[in-house]
Amino acid sequence: MSANYEERNRNYEDRQRGYEGDEEGDRGRGPGRGRRMHRRRICRFCIEKVDIIDFKDLRLLSNFVPERGKILPRRISGNCAIHQRMLAEAIKRARNIALLPYTTD
């Protein structure tokens, strides 16, 4: 009984903090709760119907390369798998030809 209580309590605290781990579980639990961390996923490239991502298009690519020079993960950008793959390819090509950095320190 007391263990059960603790368990519940922990879940409650997790939600207060915006616990991300168990999205499916959070969804049904009432309006507004735990929704904060779950942003809508929209693929920019799908909306704009981009079929080819050009590795020379630095203005586009730099949107997906944060300060550190890494490729922005899909989890954050919300890109679909197809476009994320195309984007990653393009960024790697751009790196090879010194249009983008491999690392920045």
């Binding site: 929209i42 693929c43 799908c46 590795f55 020379k56 090509r93 030809i97 249009l99 950095p101």
Partner: protein, 142 residues
């Protein structure tokens, strides 16, 4: 096995080379391509620009972009020459025709889907035209 392939070759010329030399090198490469039986479809200098990292102690370079069609033989020769040439800091060859075919396929698929569902969100094409409202409506219907 359609014989013609499309390539894009981007190379960086030493910043010490002036404009005349860059055009000379570019013309030379174009000649090589045509000699090998390829055709140059685009040759464009992207101008001098900063390199994202140093190559051979150099911080900038002149970027030249070539697009060509051919069998692949001219690429072999072109790359060999670029490796030998001291003025070329780096080059990158990308095959374009496969990506372009894929893009064509995507386009056709979209057209087919749009034709199938005339009342669907055909105009915006994206999965959800108005993200927030569309999602909540779906949830309440289900």
């Amino acid at each position: 096995m359609a014989g013609q392939r499309q390539y894009e070759v981007l190379f960086i010329v030493d910043p010490a080379a002036d404009e005349d030399e860059v055009t000379k090198i570019t013309d030379n490469f174009k000649q090589v391509i045509t000699d090998q039986g390829g055709t140059v479809t685009k040759a464009e200098s992207m101008g001098r620009r900063q390199l994202a990292y140093e190559i051979l102690r150099k911080k900038e370079g002149t970027f030249v972009d070539l697009e060509l069609e051919g069998s692949g033989k001219e690429i072999a020769e072109l790359e060999r020459r670029m490796r030998v040439n001291d003025r070329i800091l780096r080059y990158l060859t990308v095959r374009m025709d496969e990506d372009r075919r894929r893009a064509e396929k995507f386009k056709n698929n979209r057209a087919r889907k749009a034709a199938k569902r005339p009342f669907g969100s055909g105009q915006t094409g994206g999965r959800r035209a108005t993200p927030d409202f569309a999602a909540s409506e779906e949830a309440s219907e289900a």
